[in-house]
């Protein structure tokens, strides 16, 4: 496991990176006959703002307009105005005031648009108040969802994005190291989380999504932490997902307090085989379905196929990037995982062997396979009780 401080990444991303992203977006516009893109940024889904503005937003909502030609405009709450401008990609930053008249329409018209069709990312989440403002400001403009379009563009990462994710991977390794170090009899779940959180924040994490579960084979899934205290023999599972410079990576591991039981070891062997199978199936050009099926086939061959269903598990992994839960790896999902995409393969589910078990690694998809983002070993960790 790594315990080194993360290597430095550039604080301000170059304009060339921005221009490359905008070029990809505009190419996608053309294929969908869009005259521009409007990104709605709710408080819990800020990934598109990161992609367009490379800024860390804190407000409850924002809008960013990218025309077919010309400069973008951001509409933000006061708390985000300086952050967006300081990032340097969007220099025209205006107040987002839903009672103001003419500000949005001026930005769109200023880009030379008359009646047009604009794609709106996260249109499905846009609240009544914001959409009413849009409909007033852009009365003669057709608004259609561009959520999937933007997700597809974001799927393949640039070298700068990968650099950030590699750095986040180093921090993720350190987070797991802190997790194991915090495990001891009598320690509660939330106290473990506190120690992990402090360690990752000290190293520069800007956020973290984390679930945990402790206990025996009665455990069916992971949740936020409880006051439950660890006992010898407990298997402690976590999905730990820090964010650095706007990008997330994730680790899924299970650790036993004391010596692992036969059931826990058997469970680990099953999950390690499924993870290996998923990774073996992964290369540029395969689908999310292909990877999920490879994982599930291991369970089916071992007689545990029923535990790959929605009754027991959600996904067999998922995309990572500016959001931590991108394209799902599930059977039936035909999204092509192109070279440069980042996914975590995790066959996490419940089985009667040892209860809910998690094991997963994030990787960069390459033409012939994948590049690991973590250095943590894929073992069932045993922590002295």
């Amino acid at each position: 496991m790594s315990s080194n401080a993360p290597t430095a990444a550039p604080a301000v991303a170059p304009i060339a990176e921005r221009d490359a992203r905008y070029a990809r977006l505009r190419e996608a516009f053309a294929s969908h006959e869009l005259d521009g893109l409007l990104v709605y940024v709710p408080g819990w889904r800020r990934e598109d703002a990161r992609y367009l503005a490379d800024a860390q937003l804190r407000g409850s909502f924002a809008l960013i307009h990218l025309p077919l030609d010309g400069e973008p405009t951001a509409f933000t709450l006061p708390v985000d105005r300086v952050a967006v401008a300081a990032a340097g990609w969007v220099t025209d930053v205006r107040a987002l005031d839903l009672s103001a008249s003419g500000t949005l329409s001026a930005a769109v018209r200023g880009a030379g648009l008359g009646p047009s069709t604009i794609g709106v990312a996260q249109l499905e989440l846009m609240p009544v108040a914001v959409r009413a403002w849009l409909q007033t400001e852009l009365a003669d403009t057709r608004l259609i969802s561009a959520t999937r379009l933007l997700s597809a563009v974001r799927l393949v990462k640039s070298e700068l994005e990968l650099q950030r994710m590699r750095r986040c991977g180093e921090l993720t390794d350190a987070g797991w190291e802190a997790f194991v170090a915090a495990m001891r009899p009598g320690r509660s779940e939330y106290e473990i989380v506190a120690e992990v959180e402090a360690r990752m924040k000290a190293m520069g994490a800007t956020d973290n999504f984390m679930l945990i579960a402790s206990g025996g084979d009665e455990v069916r899934g992971m949740t936020p932490p409880s006051a439950r205290r660890l006992g010898v023999g407990d298997m402690v599972r976590t999905e730990l997902t820090p964010q650095v410079d706007g990008y997330w990576t994730q680790i899924c591991r299970s650790a036993v307090l004391g010596a692992a039981s036969d059931g826990q070891r058997a469970s680990h062997e099953l999950f390690a085989a499924a993870l290996d199978a998923g990774l073996s199936a992964l290369r540029g050009g395969v689908t999310a379905h292909d990877v999920a099926m490879a994982e599930n086939d291991v369970f089916r061959a071992a007689g545990y196929g029923e535990y790959c269903t929605a009754k027991h598990t959600r996904v067999r992994g998922h995309g990572l990037g500016a959001h931590f839960d991108e394209v799902p790896l599930v059977e039936g999902e035909e999204t092509v995982l192109e070279t440069g995409a980042v996914v975590i393969v995790h066959p996490n589910t419940y089985t009667p062997l040892a209860g809910y078990h998690v094991l997963g690694d994030p990787v960069i998809v390459t033409p012939t396979g994948w590049e690991p983002l973590l250095s943590t070993t894929r073992e069932l960790f045993e922590v002295a009780g």
Partner: protein, 344 residues
Amino acid sequence: MKRGLVSRKGDGAAFVARVKRLQERLLATGAAVGLIYEDVYRADDVAYLTNLCVYWNEAILAVPAEGQPTLLTKLSPRVHQWMRATSTLDDLRSGPNFVKLVCDYLAEREPRTLAVVDRAWWPAALLEDVAAAAPEWSVRDLPDAVRSLRLAPDGLDEETLERAAAIAGEAARRAATAVDESANGRIAIAELHAREAGAKDLIADCQALDDGVEAVRVTVQLGNVWSRAARMTGGPGLTATAGPMGALSAAESRLRAGTTRSELELASVDGAMAKIAATHHADLGSNGDFRPDSDLVTPLRRGAVLTLEATVETIAGPVTALADTYLVSDGGSVALSRGEAATR
């Protein structure tokens, strides 16, 4: 992110009373059902009524005018057991499609009026689809129906607010007084203290003022309430600290029942070195971004809890230099985040 302690539901009677108050409002407006939509970023109404932690994704709480609330959620049934253990909810319904979940719920009832709490902040597309799929129901807005209840803390919230404020104050103090610590290190100190003390969520930042002074701001969610405190570090020159201290002191002296947020925020005009922002505890989780305009001129009630922040302009934008959370009384206020006793 809500990755801290999610406590058990505790005093179930308090939640029953809260739901009852909302139901009285529903009955008064002729609504048979009230619907509350929230997501992981903005989940305080659902938590207030049920103690449920929406730790990810979205959820709709359906509250009938009579009877028990029902949760409609995209979260998996695998976590129903946990939801039942940590909330007052018993009827939990999961599915990938909110419209179907809502319509199936409404189909069990005689069509009447459907009250949508805070309609302005519902996803427009979802609301349109629900209205189209249930045309026999008359949809009406019920703005501020739960937040307005949260503004007046009940016994359960009073006790939790006092603890939350103490945690926020101590976390900010420890982070700000640490010697030779980096900004990330100060945030880590705040995280460790607050989360070990049981915080469910935490928003901490450390930003530079002038003269080598830094400010640590800590916003803590404990149980279902929020509190905030900010403290400044020492430095080679302390001129940066005078403005915020004076502004906060001036605002504090005006804080009592009957004062408005507008009056408190205007208090900073005279000093000019720092601006004051006043935020009810019920609005801290989303920084006041969803509060109604009328909140600015609504007189504070005795027992209200709010945060006063002194903010200074820096080259990196406005930075909160000093903040405390107060309990409002008829004659003044008590700074809960400074450890003052909440004698009422």
